[in-house]
């Protein structure tokens, strides 16, 4: 399980931590019943405040991705991260549309990059 945070990013650190966990779930590297590392350990390793990690875990709980229980920590429920699933579906639709329009991979990526900026 890889979690990375960039203090220079415009995205809050708790959101970056939550995004890291979502990505692991979506890619199947975290499954039902898997336990997330203790918030204290994550905070120490990333050199961030403990409450920042707890906030990320609470956000994941609110999304139904993890179950927070006293004494057991954060346990993955098996639910899929809705937001990322939607992004995945949108990307697949984009690729299909680009192929239909005769756009190359490079041209499609350029369009996405331009839109992003």
């Amino acid at each position: 399980m890889l979690i990375r945070v960039d203090p220079a990013s415009s995205l809050p650190i708790f959101a970056q931590i939550a995004a890291g966990v979502r990505r692991e779930v979506l890619e199947g590297r975290l499954g039902t019943g898997d336990r997330l590392p203790a918030a204290k350990e994550v905070a120490r390793s990333l050199d961030v405040n403990l409450h920042t990690v707890l906030r990320a875990y609470q956000e994941l709980r609110d999304e139904g991705l993890v179950d927070l229980r006293r004494g057991r920590g954060a346990v993955v429920t098996g639910a899929q991260p809705t937001a990322l699933v939607e992004v995945g579906e949108a990307v697949r639709a984009l690729v299909r549309a680009a192929a239909t329009a005769g756009l190359s991979r490079q041209e499609t990526v350029s369009l996405v990059t331009k839109e992003w900026s």
């Binding site: 399980m1 890889l2 979690i3 990375r4 945070v5 960039d6 203090p7 220079a8 590297r29 590392p37 203790a38 350990e41 994550v42 390793s45 990333l46 050199d47 961030v48």
Partner: protein
Amino acid sequence: MMTTRHPTPTTRRPRVPGTGRYVATVLALPALVVVTGLALVAGSWSQLPAVVASHWGPNGVDGTQTLVAYTVTATAFVVGLSLLLALVAWVMPGDGRRIMATTVGVMSGFLGTVLYGALLGQRGVTDPSAATLSPMVFVLGALVGAVLGAVAWMLNPVLPRPDSVAPAVPADAPRIPLAEGERLVWFGWTAAGAWVVWLALGLAVVGCFVAVVAAPWAAIGPALGIVLLLLVAHARVVVDADGLRVTSAGIVRWLRVPLVSVAYAEGSELHALREFGGFGLRFRTDERAFVTRSGEALRVVQRDGTRTYVSVDGAEEAAAVLNALVTRAVDA
């Protein structure tokens, strides 16, 4: 899968630092136990029976020896076992020797106290079959063992070794892209198979059996075995800006490799029995490992030439994270 191995560093120092102190420790501590034990036995010789109890079972004494034979056997046992352990540890690297020196201290202190203590407890006894073995002998043995173990631990620090590998991550080594100032941590688990559950159940049965047949305190051994087994069977592997560490239950740290000591890392494979002779924390010449199973493993080459292995899933990614952190630290 990802088993590309970079050449193993072959530069070896001619002599392990601290060897003299290690040899002195593993010889002096058992010698201290034996000399003290023999002196106490000699001082009580006239009060001891010619035939002494040498073995106890659930129903009391079930074995006897002559006083001379018991004294010689007890002494040979402590000396022989200590020398055997010291010999096994001879080829071990620095921290392995520290553990073995501590083991010699604990073992010689405990065994010597119990064996000579069981004999001294028979002062004034005329019928060896009526001799009793006080549980306090074992408590005293544990205390003496703990003290001698602590002495051996303090006398044999892990000494830094000279660097022999350049801290340059090979160009083809796995490495994840890392933005400036970005922080990252990799978490993994190293876990043994279902055999651990069966072994723990077996130990529980043995513990219940000896508790009923012998005495409740006799179950302490199997109970400690179960705790140790469960700690070894499941451990957290963490790679971050501090380096690599392997811990169990958040309290027992099996391994720690500081980032500043890492040359590079890579995904590898290991065979628990063939390469390391078992499970748990293992040591070989210039190599150490935390092994819970055979298969995928993280291999970390340190600047002093030693190699550390951890059996863990996702080893390639862990190596890529470690290499990225090492590269950034070296470039800084």
